[in-house]
């Protein structure tokens, strides 16, 4: 029993000893496991962070916005260009006016003589080098173009194109990338001196700097210094959000170490210089020194002096707080602090520091968003881009898009609309703001869209009427009908008498359609050209029915209309509904002699490094017979000379011939004018969005705006060149037959060889009749044509002044 007790006792004591040892072992084992787990977890997390850091640094770093450019201004001797136009373009290009243009992007002006230091630009088809240009403008033309540096005079120079828009990435950041080697040494020195003194020595995190900052902050009683390295700041901006939690700080430190481990200091510096947030421009965030330098000072980074460089670095601490435009005093104080730091570090001399501190802030007004908004034009550009590019590509690949926009023409169009629409509204006592307008200007030969105005307020990016407002075109259809007729020269020429007499048709739904002339009169037999010039509805309907609706529609399709059209007789008076851009396409085909060029607004697209991706070339389709088009154009010239648009005549510069057509719809709800000179086609529409009557005809509404535009831009006259086989011929306008010398009412018209009338009128001989009774009877026989009877003199005077 004692042995058993002993055993039990010993057993108990040994069990106790095992228990404490077991506990220790337990603690050690689980502690070790915990440590291992922690290390593993940390290691895995480190791997994850490492992957993140590298992926972004080595992958696609920044989504670059697409840049959209207007057409470059081409300068050559003899080019029509006014001083105002050149100045306007230089201002849009943000060229600074200086005394002596030393840097690219500057110009000097002495009266009509400009010395422009152009910026180099890499176009699709080659580079335009940096140049010193001596431009002499006289009488609205470029009189001389010389090389200011004494080299050979260039025959043709392109200025860099105006940047009209950037299509931003969805986060709305914008930057101009600067390579590490292109960073000015002064900027780098300033940056390091202020933000991270031991940048090249530390390993991502700088404990000494942190300790120093803590010490200074304690001394100062607030936050006066930060201990973050550039690397840490880069991590914060590049990878992380802006929270200020401890967890984020730790993450930041960790990633900074990893970043520093993997990459060279120079690479980190380069990334920093392009990432740092330096300001806000509306909803566009300014990142990187390259863009900041342009945004604040309208200069490139390498043009900045000590004061400006110090200002940029000063902004890092708080771009909004130290915004030099809004808080100039604070900005100046901080800038001077930076300059003092530079002085203290021996980077600049005492004299330089003093001069820099006294210098003004130097902030420019011009560095903001691209010149002019052009939202309507951009909508057209986007529409055409969407065919070939996805939205993500547009926003991120840094594409460079070269458009056909001509800022000179665009501003003329915008000005005309802005000025006239309120005047027209007042003149007809319409509710304020109800009258709207749209305008399109294209080049005649190539169909390039030069200007687009989508509404009475061109800056407003809303409903784009030029692209989207589908409205009945009214009499704008008439040239198409006449063109169709003139394509049959054996049946119709410009003098063929048409019957301007009442017509009534039973339409498909049983109703009776009885069109009428604008002045509610019938004019009897009228020559074809006159029916177009005066826009006689009845004559046109009769002609259109004779020619056939199918043919008219076919012509319309050939001229570029793809919208389906209801084949009813009312289409002859323009129940066809089109957008202004579609009308412009039709009139471009006519203006180009029957050679339709599909309208385009983009010339080419390059990638971010300037390599060509896409080119949109000129493509020409034969749309109509050249001779018929020539004759139709002649008739449309009469619209301006003696027809419904004759109020335009006195406004145009002498020697400029234009052709066009007024358009007014039923109930005067739409007012149109579409016309062209030798090199430009322009279409203007005026109306109300709610389609209520506006009491304006084509001549009283759209025509003044059209005139304003055409008068403000440079135009070539219509070519006088005739197609083969077209000759001038004297005819009798009363019957369309040839007239001999004795015919006093004869007029000269062009006819094609196949369209020459074969019979001669007896008008020259009719006057010879001695019998007064017969003479009077003959004189009065066509009384329907004109109220005032009379012989040759009356005809002559009427022909001179128009009917």
């Amino acid at each position: 029993m004692a042995r058993r007790k002993k055993t039990a006792a010993s057993a108990r004591s040994s069990g106790n000893r095992t228990g404490s040892r077991g506990l220790r072992r337990f603690v050690v084992r689980w502690g070790l496991l915990l440590v291992v787990a922690t290390i593993l977890a940390a290691g895995l997390y480190a791997l994850y962070l490492d992957g993140t850091v590298r992926a972004k640094f080595e992958g696609k770093r920044w989504a670059l916005p697409a840049r959209v450019y207007a057409r470059p201004l081409e300068l050559y001797a003899g080019r029509p260009l006014s001083v105002e136009s050149l100045t306007g373009e230089l201002e849009r290009l943000k060229y600074r006016r200086v005394q002596s243009p030393k840097y690219a992007g500057t110009y000097s002006r002495d009266g009509d003589r400009f010395v422009v230091h152009t910026r180099p630009f890499r176009f699709w088809d080659g580079s335009e080098p940096e140049r010193l240009l001596d431009i002499d403008i006289q009488k609205g033309k470029v009189a001389g173009l010389e090389d200011g540096a004494g080299g050979p005079d260039p025959a043709l120079v392109r200025l860099d194109p105006v940047l009209i828009a950037s299509i931003y990435p969805t986060h709305n950041e914008d930057r101009v990338l600067v390579r590490g080697q292109d960073l000015p040494p002064l900027l780098v020195a300033t940056l390091l001196a202020v933000e991270d003194r031991d940048f090249y020595e530390h390993w991502g995190v700088n404990p000494r700097a942190i300790a120093r900052a803590v010490w200074h902050n304690l001394l100062a009683g607030g936050i006066v210094e930060g201990g973050s390295t550039l690397t840490q700041q880069l991590v914060k901006n590049f990878y992380l959000s802006d929270e200020r939690t401890l967890a984020r700080k730790l993450n930041e430190a960790f990633m900074a170490v990893l970043l520093d481990w993997h990459y060279e200091k120079s690479e980190i510096l380069e990334a920093y210089a392009n990432e740092i947030f330096l300001g806000q421009d509306g909803n566009r965030a300014i990142h990187g020194f390259g863009l900041a330098s342009r945004f604040y000072f309208n200069r490139d980074l390498d043009e900045l002096g000590i004061a400006e460089t110090a200002m940029l670095v000063a902004l890092i601490k708080g771009p909004s707080y130290y915004d030099p435009r809004r808080h100039s005093e604070r900005a100046r104080t901080r800038r001077n602090l930076v300059i003092d730091t530079l002085r203290a570090r021996g980077i600049i001399s005492e004299g330089q520091a003093k001069a820099a501190k006294e210098a003004p802030l130097g902030v420019s007004d011009q560095g903001g968003r691209p010149a002019g908004a052009y939202p309507a034009y951009l909508q057209l550009v986007r529409r055409q881009l969407q065919r070939d590019y996805r939205e993500e590509d547009l926003r991120s690949e840094g594409l460079r898009i070269f458009t056909t926009l001509d800022p000179l023409v665009q501003s003329a169009a915008e000005e005309a609309v802005r000025k006239r629409v309120p005047e027209l509204e007042r003149s007809r006592k319409l509710p304020s703001g109800s009258l709207e307008s749209a305008a399109v200007v294209t080049s005649a030969a190539q169909g390039e869209v030069l200007a687009l105005v989508g509404g009475r307020d061109p800056e407003y990016a809303g409903f784009n009427r030029a692209l989207e407002a589908v409205r009945p075109i009214g009499s704008l259809i008439k040239p198409v009908i006449y063109l169709t007729a003139l394509s049959h020269p054996d049946r119709y020429n410009l003098a063929t008498p048409l019957s301007d007499s009442p017509v009534s048709l039973r339409t498909g739904d049983g109703k009776l359609w009885r069109p009428d002339n604008y002045d509610h009169k019938s004019h009897g037999r009228v020559p074809l050209y006159k029916a177009l010039a005066k826009s006689y509805n009845l004559a046109t309907v009769n002609l259109g029915l004779e020619v056939g609706l199918d043919e008219v529609l076919r012509t319309l399709g050939n001229l570029g209309v793809s919208r389906p059209v209801d084949p009813v007789p009312a289409l002859l008076l323009g129940s066809v509904s089109l957008t202004p851009v579609e009308v412009a396409q039709v009139y471009q085909a006519i203006a180009a002699g029957g050679f339709r060029a599909p309208l385009r607004s983009i010339r080419e697209v390059l990638d971010a490094s300037g390599r060509p991706l896409n080119r949109y070339p000129l493509a020409v389709e034969p749309a109509a017979d050249a001779t018929a088009v020539y004759l139709t154009t002649w008739a449309m010239e009469q619209v301006v000379r003696q027809g419904t648009a004759r109020s335009l005549k006195k406004r145009l510069p002498s020697g400029l011939t234009v052709a066009g057509k007024t358009g007014t719809t039923n109930g005067m709800r739409d007012s149109w004018f579409a016309g062209f000179s030798g090199d430009k086609v322009s279409v203007v529409w005026v109306g109300r969005d709610d389609n209520k009557p506006i009491q304006l005809s084509g001549a009283s509404g759209a025509l003044p705006i059209w005139g304003d535009i055409m008068v403000s831009v440079d135009n070539r006259s219509l070519p006088e060149l005739r197609p083969e086989g077209v000759e001038d011929v004297r005819i009798d306008p009363r019957n369309g037959l040839l007239a001999d010398a004795g015919c006093r009412r004869a007029m000269t018209i062009p006819v094609s060889a196949a369209g020459t009338p074969d019979a001669t009128s007896d008008c020259g001989r009719a006057v010879v009749s001695a019998d007064p009774k017969t003479a009077k009877k003959e004189a009065g026989s066509d009384k329907v044509d004109n109220k005032r009877a009379g012989g040759g003199f009356g005809e002559f005077m009427r022909g001179f002044f128009g009917n």
Partner: protein
């Protein structure tokens, strides 16, 4: 187990601390992930740009539904087609005809038809090649302004070098300066001819004729091109008529 644990820790620790080789170069600043621009040699204007990247096709206006580009007008494909000499009666001088494929016209994208196909359709012979080979460009007209003239010279150089897309771009620029000058339209027609865009070439030559007035030499060149273009698309009657007009008939 107690012995293996520290070894496990050591091994995993080593693995975690091992530095990883960078997978590739860091993203260059300018091109954000693509080939850095500095590696691309600066191109002088004369040499043709990389054609395979450039797509040239007839533009569609916004009103039409987006659809594929008109296949017949796809430029580079035709460039390869020109290579194959079909049975041609006239001695096809190889020099200019041969020079063309060495330009970037030969670097056609995979979508081009194989030359074999072209041989079997004799209508698509390089008869236009013959026209190109024998007829020098008509003399430059005095109505050209110096600016347009410099562009035409540049375009001519580009055309000789085989850079058709560049030549067309330069000529379009010249047209912006003098849109009613028939000589420029004629040159553009020639470029389209050499690209194999016969329909376009014919239309542009017609356009040139409409503006040419009584410039007989220019008109003759235009009619010859129209004839060749019509022949190339199989319109023999039209080609004959154009030939007649070229002779002055």
């Amino acid at each position: 187990m107690n012995k293996r644990l520290p070894i496990l820790v050591l091994v995993s620790g080593l693995a975690a601390c091992a530095s990883y080789e960078r997978a590739g170069p860091p993203a260059p600043v300018v091109t954000a992930g693509r080939q850095p621009a500095v590696q691309t040699p600066a191109k002088p204007v004369q040499t043709p740009p990389p054609e395979e990247k450039v797509e040239v096709y007839a533009y569609r206006p916004p009103a039409t539904a987006p659809d594929a580009p008109v296949p017949s007008e796809a430029a580079p494909a035709e460039g390869a087609g020109n290579l194959s000499a079909g049975p041609v009666s006239e001695a096809a001088t190889p020099a200019p005809g041969g020079a063309i494929p060495q330009g970037t016209g030969g670097g056609a994208p995979p979508s081009s038809e194989p030359p074999g196909e072209k041989v079997s359709t004799p209508t698509l012979t390089p008869a236009p090649e013959v026209v190109v080979a024998h007829v020098p460009p008509p003399p430059s007209t005095p109505t050209l302004s110096p600016a347009a003239d410099s562009l035409i010279k540049k375009a001519e150089q580009e055309r000789q070098a085989g850079d058709y897309v560049g030549a067309a771009a330069t000529l379009e620029r010249a047209l912006g300066i003098q849109p009613q000058e028939p000589y420029i339209w004629n040159r553009l027609a020639r470029v389209r001819m050499e690209q194999g865009l016969y329909a376009q070439a014919g239309t542009l030559a017609l356009r040139s004729n409409a503006l040419a007035g009584d410039q007989a030499v220019l008109k003759q060149d235009n009619w010859r091109m129209i004839a060749a273009a019509r022949r190339a698309v199989g319109d023999t009657a039209g080609a004959a008529e154009a030939e007649r007009k070229a002779q002055g008939g």
